[in-house]
């Protein structure tokens, strides 16, 4: 799962908070809103395959910046 790959990179950062922020920022900057929404929904349903660090980052991202200020994914 790609989110875990992102998490694996940022896990090397010196501090936990820095790693969480790094993951959240990356998702916000590079993932299209429908993908972010799916990820947030996945975490809301338990996020079973996601590493704890990534789950925390996804929740941080969802809290700070709701996915997509303008919805272009749905009809």
């Amino acid at each position: 799962m790609m989110a875990n790959d992102i998490g694996a990179y940022f896990a090397g950062y010196p501090g936990h908070d820095q790693a969480v922020e790094g993951i959240a920022n990356h998702l916000r900057n590079f993932w299209e809103p429908r993908m972010r929404r799916e990820l947030v929904a996945y975490v809301a349903n338990g996020g079973g395959d996601l590493k704890p660090l990534v789950r925390e980052a996804v929740l941080t991202m969802a809290r700070k910046s709701p996915a997509g200020s303008e919805d272009v994914g749905d009809g």
Binding site: I6, G12, F30, V72, D74
Partner: protein, 933 residues
């Protein structure tokens, strides 16, 4: 023969030296010290007759035609090998010189066919010119004596002939092969009158080491080495300077024309990227542009199981637009997107992303750079502040240690490689990091000091090990790092790489590289006055591609190898306009000039210019588009100049995604593999049929000039404009220069770029703006674009693609010199014969284990797909690794490659796929055994 349009000053320029004043034929002349007398004369407009001298080669002094008289000097020295001296007085004409030159010419012509009227060089032959220049009126020695007049013509090369009967043995071809190309395929065989030019071991060109770069053909002063196209068409009558449409070197060419037919392509001596050199693709492989397979009428079909139907442009454009509108109405604004091409111009690419953002109203635009250098974009932006090389190509000539990582330079970037080889022949040291023994590892006069033959997928482990040595052995440039980089990040990085787990000894079991070799290579790079890193897709096309780019940037900053000529981080881009397509805002998260779509100020400038309100959210990347198509939320795609069905990994997944879409609009030259899934085909224009610009690997923007009409009547930018208009968003330009003007208005790093600038300078490297009106050759000189250089922690995370007992071999993929990308162009040229099929390279020990012999047909099986390839048993690959190319669609190489991708950018991991290989017969037996059981 070089182009008639280009001046030839007989010997190379000696720039930078103090000026020397002398007198030639009574004229005062001032030239740099070290300049030859013949060049000094040429610069003063005095043309001394010559045959063996040309300004692309060092002087040789063999033809004895350029003799001059010099006051105070005995005899008649050759002006090509005599350097100027202060106060020298030179005479280039006298009765004695005229007699000597006529005598020399008479001897040459005594052994030369007198068939000028039917000779293909007639009208552009230096021998003919010199006979006229020296006033040759008779030849006394033609009858009865020995001659070479009946020597057999060698026609074995597909693109040029070698006619030894016309050869004057001036050695220009031999020297061009050595000095310019560095292949050493030619030599002089025999002595005295018996001297002949010999390819390889006196065999035909096709059996020699010749790489068909054509440098010898260009250097030849007679018709001895002659393009077959000129033999067929005759001498060209006009020429146009343009830019090659193949690799990221971006060579400048003079397209020499007869009417609207290309007679030949001659590399431009004034070209800043190539300095008059070329490769087999750029110089010779342009025949695809007139291939009968070209589609010249727009076509549509309602579904992909129907045959194509030719329609008018208007019908095709209206149908495409109506389908996109229908899809957006039904499935949402985000249900469509576009893919720009690295083979198209900057202007065309800019327009496609503009269409997507402004007419589609979303940011679902991506480019084929996604699958090659997107990690470069991410990594270098993060570390330095901009997504591009730090240097120009010329910088390599000041490098003392050159580290080539994951780049097969002689195959992928042959013209730049020729320059790199020249620098190595001058004494620069070479370190190669590659799983294969690529050609650059060992060549005539090139011998890598270290070849770190890593296992595929272990780049980050290796770069960390190199950094470990640099840090723990105190080889860092502390002053540079303190002044130029973030101190906290530098300290954290040093602490990380110094951990024992990153030592070469700890990493040796991972990388497969002996620790001592890693230590020696690290010391060599760090100790070099100038250390330069060049890298290619062997770095980026990994699940840790971005991490590796960051690791390279860390190493360069830590050793102070940034910000001056001779050093730097140099990504070698694959296709001609990869850099440009990225610069132009083709990525879904960025506008032109690498500015994030969420930046309100930047967006506002585009909103105002385009009269729309841009979506602030990033759009879908290419792999996301196929995933979304299979999810049912993405239904329409506009693809300009890209064959995603053949070039993307996990081809069956891509095919399923394309099949799930309701409207795929393909704009291309040929019905490629993607066309099988397309509903609208819009016939595009080749690089010879349009105006625009390309940006090469060194950020160099060069003009592309139209030399022939597009067979379907429209340049690609015009097609995009018509589609946008049909979508209800008119984009009005009368010429691509107006598109560039818009790019310049909206992009700070391009604000000084215009067609006038390009005409004035020939080409320009961005940033080009008020601060750098003539462009920027070396970036980050006094400060990084982002301010302080950023060090990042590059933890080594193994790829999820693992070998197993069932899939014990790692397949890695790459390219070959004569073919280009998926072969759409080069397979439709005579290059096809040079690489008629993709072969699977396998080490002799792995072959023996499986009973595989060279040439056997093999089943190559990955976890999700299999294909057939023939074996090439070779020690170029290490045990446990197999390798192939992807130039032929029937090979289905990218059916095998996986969906694993770079964590940051989704760049596919083409370089690591676990496979099993077996001879076909054995597979049949195994199947029979299973069936029997």
């Amino acid at each position: 023969m070089r182009s008639r349009a280009d001046s030839d000053f007989a010997t190379p320029l000696r720039p930078g030296a103090p000026t020397v004043a002398l007198e030639i034929d009574g004229r005062a002349v001032a030239v740099p010290e070290g300049t030859s007398v013949i060049r000094a004369a040429a610069q003063a407009g005095i043309h001394v007759p010559r045959l063996c001298a040309t300004d692309s080669l060092e002087p040789f002094g063999s033809c004895r035609l350029c003799l001059v008289e010099i006051d105070g000097q005995r005899g008649y020295p050759a002006s090509c090998t005599t350097p100027v001296r202060a106060g020298m007085k030179v005479r280039t004409e006298s009765p004695a010189l005229a007699r000597l030159r006529r005598g020399v010419m008479e001897l040459y012509i005594s052994d030369h066919p007198l068939d000028c009227l039917t000779c293909p060089a007639n009208g552009n032959c230096e021998l003919q010119d010199m006979a006229g220049a020296v006033g040759l009126r008779e030849v006394r020695y033609r009858d009865g004596g020995a001659s070479h007049l009946h020597a057999q013509k060698d026609q074995s090369n597909p693109y040029f002939t070698f006619d030894p009967s016309k050869c004057i043995v001036c050695s220009r071809c031999v020297r061009a092969c050595e000095e310019v190309q560095g292949t050493f395929a030619l030599t002089i065989d025999g002595r005295g009158f018996s001297s002949v030019i010999s390819p390889g071991q006196n065999g035909p060109f096709s059996a020699s080491e010749c790489v068909s770069c054509g440098a010898c053909v260009q250097a030849c002063p007679t018709a001895t080495l002659m393009e077959k196209s000129v033999i067929e068409l005759g001498q060209p009558e006009h020429s146009v300077v343009t830019t090659c449409g193949y690799c990221g070197v971006g060579c400048s060419f003079r397209a020499e024309m007869k009417g609207d037919l290309v007679a030949r392509m001659v590399p431009n001596p004034d070209g800043h990227a190539n300095h008059g050199h070329a490769c087999v693709k750029g110089r010779f492989a342009w025949g695809y542009t007139t291939h009968p397979d070209r589609i010249t009428r727009p076509m549509i079909r309602q579904s992909i199981d129907q045959p194509w139907r030719e329609v008018s442009w208007r019908d095709a454009i209206e149908y495409a637009a109506s389908e996109f509108k229908r899809i957006q109405q039904k499935y949402g604004r985000g249900a469509v997107g576009g893919i720009t091409s690295s083979r198209c111009t900057n202007e065309e690419t800019f327009l496609v992303q503009k269409l997507v953002r402004a007419a589609f109203g979303n940011n679902n635009v991506d480019t084929c750079a996604r699958v090659c250098h997107s990690p470069t974009g991410y990594g270098l932006k993060t570390a330095f502040g901009t997504s591009a090389t730090t240097q120009d190509f010329e910088s390599v000539m000041q490098a003392d240690v050159i580290m080539v990582i994951g780049a097969n330079v002689t195959e992928g970037h042959p013209v730049f490689a020729a320059r790199m080889k020249r620098r190595i022949r001058q004494g620069a040291k070479l370190i190669v990091v590659d799983p294969r023994v690529t050609e650059i590892v060992r060549l005539p006069h090139v011998d890598a000091s270290h070849h770190l033959q890593i296992r595929p997928g272990t780049n980050v482990a290796l770069i960390n090990a190199l950094a470990h040595v640099v840090v723990t052995e105190r080889l860092t440039d502390e002053a540079f790092a303190a002044a130029r980089c973030d101190p906290h990040e530098f300290a954290a990085w040093k602490k990380f790489v110094a951990e024992p787990r990153n030592s070469p000894e700890s990493m040796a079991p991972v990388t497969g590289v002996p620790a001592a070799s890693v230590r020696a290579a690290a010391r060599m790079y760090a100790a070099a006055p100038n250390g330069a890193i060049y890298y290619g897709l062997g770095v980026t096309e990994h699940s840790q591609g971005s991490t590796m780019v960051l690791g390279i940037a860390n190493l360069a900053m830590a050793t102070g190898n940034i910000g001056r000529p001779g050093v730097g981080v140099n990504p070698l881009r694959g296709q001609n306009n990869v850099q440009g397509s990225c610069d132009m805002g083709s990525f879904p998260h960025e506008l032109s000039g690498y500015r994030h779509i969420s930046d309100e100020g930047v967006r506002a400038s585009f909103d105002a210019a385009w009269g729309v309100r841009l979506d602030p959210e990033p759009g879908l990347r290419i792999p996301n588009m196929f995933d979304a198509a299979l999810d049912g939320s993405f239904k329409g795609l506009y693809v300009q100049g890209e064959d995603v069905a053949q070039s993307e990994p996990n081809g069956q997944h891509v095919a399923a995604g394309l099949r799930a879409m309701e409207c795929v609009v393909l704009q291309d030259l040929f019905l490629n593999e993607t066309a099988k899934y397309a509903h609208v085909f819009l016939p595009g224009s080749s690089f010879l049929e349009k105006n625009g610009t390309f940006t090469n690997s060194e950020r160099r923007i060069s003009m592309v000039r139209k030399v022939a009409a597009p067979p379907a009547g429209k340049e690609d930018w015009e097609i995009t404009c018509e589609l946008a208009a049909a979508l209800g968003y008119p984009m009005k330009y009368s010429h691509p220069s107006e598109i560039m003007d818009e790019i310049a208005r909206l992009t700070p790093t391009f604000s000084g770029v215009s067609y006038q600038t390009l005409e004035r300078l020939g080409s320009v490297q961005w940033p080009c703006n008020d601060s750098a009106p003539d462009g920027t050759s070396v970036m980050h000189v006094d400060r990084f674009v982002r301010g302080k250089g950023s060090f990042t922690i590059t933890e080594c995370v193994p790829t999820d693609e693992r070998t197993s007992s069932e899939y014990p071999l790692i397949l890695t993929t790459g390219r070959i010199l004569s073919q280009y990308n998926v072969g759409t162009q080069t397979r439709r040229t005579l290059n096809a014969a040079m690489h008629a099929e993709d072969r699977l390279e396998i080490h002799p020990s792995d072959a023996e284990l499986r009973g595989i012999r060279d040439g056997d047909w093999l089943r190559v099986r990955a976890r999700h797909a299999e294909t057939r390839l023939r074996a090439l048993v070779t020690e170029r690959v290490q045990p446990g690794v197999v390798y192939t190319t992807f130039h032929h669609p029937e090979s289905r190489t990218n059916d095998l490659t996986t969906e694993h991708s770079d964590w940051a950018t989704n760049c596919p991991e083409y370089k690591v796929t676990a496979v099993q290989v077996a001879p076909e017969a054995r597979s049949a037996q195994a199947r029979a055994a299973v069936a029997g059981a």
